[in-house]
Amino acid sequence: MKRFLNAPEAYVPEMLDGLVKAHPEALKFGEDVFSIVRADAPVEGKVALATGGGSGHLPVFLGYVGKGMLDGCAVGDVFNSPSAEQMADVTRRISGGKGVVYIYGNYGGDVMNFDMASEMVDMEDIPVKTVLVKDDVASAPKDEADRRRGVAGMVFAFKVAGAKADEGGSIDDVAAAAEKALAHTGTMGVALSACIIPQVGKPGFSIGEGEMEIGMGIHGEPGMKREALAKADEVAARLAETILADLAPGAGAEFAVMVNGLGATPPEDLYVLYRAVHDLLAQKGYGVHRAYVGEYATSMEMAGASLTLMMLDDELKRLLDAPAQTPFFQQS
């Protein structure tokens, strides 16, 4: 394992300790290191946003806690849901009197625990609304979209919903903004190598030299097809065409584009992919309103990338363009 670790069991708490030590102006711990909220939480009079999920995907989830995006995050062990108790703790600490919106990926463990958490805080009169992220178009066909996984598209949901909350939106407005963003968002990934859960110590699968897996999830969930590694332009076209078929944009549609690296893929390669996506959209008469190229939702040392497209209208543009300041995402 080509990694910097101490005891594998200590990996997540040490990482969290380091993160809060590096960003004390932005983040603070809740009940324990697994519950992290904005340094200025609770923000009174604002709908609060919480997320949560397993570790191993930085900046997802924790990295988006900050002004203009999320108020708090419950953090689990690598690829493991946090507990309901931790989620409830985050919820209590960020609640500013206008309710809390949960936005998180559609994974069984997370769903069960967030459901338990919302039952707990419901008894304490904190209203909660839940928005499940299911943007991975490769994870199930469109008519079974409820089975889809949540991947990098959640970052757009965090951004849009966070801006709506900053604008003074109600809990329903904020949840609706997140739902709207997600209804217009699709993501698809391609993996070139596996990653290692420190406590397991060896990869759960392998991808041969010269192979790629199209549609793989960010925990190594199997994709649509294992095939020969294609040229960057072809890979970009495969991802873009599949997402576009799913979103079915109208003529002249404008997009936010995210080319996300899974971990080991160099930023240079991501720009080679972005170029192909940009040119393909332009050829089809579509526009790019904003491009995000970099690591937004990772799988530790996995090599690979994902493409996310969000179709924009004026409201989504405004919410996407609003400022945000988090340890991993700054926009002004």
Binding site: D77, F79, N80, E85, M116, I197, G217, E221, P222
Partner: protein, 206 residues
Amino acid sequence: MSVTRDDIAAAMVRAAAALRAAKDDLTALDQAAGDGDLGITAGKLADALDAYAGSEADDLGKFLAQAGMALNKAASSTMGTLAATALMRAGQTVKGQSTMTAEQVAEAFRAAAQGVMDRGKAKLGDKTVLDALFPAADALAEAVGAGAPLGAAGQKMLDAARQGRDAVTPLQNKIGRAGWVGERTKGAVDPGCAMVIAAMEGVTGQ
């Protein structure tokens, strides 16, 4: 013959040992059909059970429910959460009691299975832990109803769980991470079934 807090605590310790012993097998099963963390979850549940078994509680209901909360905190992946839910639901059936009868053990088990179904929203035949739990709950209730002692009834329960597991092995997982693996799960043992059976083996000593 009635079951006491100490009996339950001893069963927890036996389950813990069995879970710990099954870690590597569970990791391998979950690597094939999921994300490979089930061995870690089993280890965490084992540690949490061992740590909890010595706790005091006013009655059996609280003893079980608090065990569930401890498990959820320690291991909150799908199986950890379902295990926690199971214990919390079981606890609800014996609130205020300091012992439970064999019939009440069977009832608590059924409530636990139902809790897992409510929480996870899976159906029988989706190839999950439910496909081991429900046949086991039925077998236990039937055997106890027919007057069998808990030891013999436990054997029936375990047999039924194993049969349940084997019955769904040829099928495709329909839910959870394994649901995304699709076709390739046909013929593979469901990792969650394997985990609850390991725990039952520990509890029954069989």
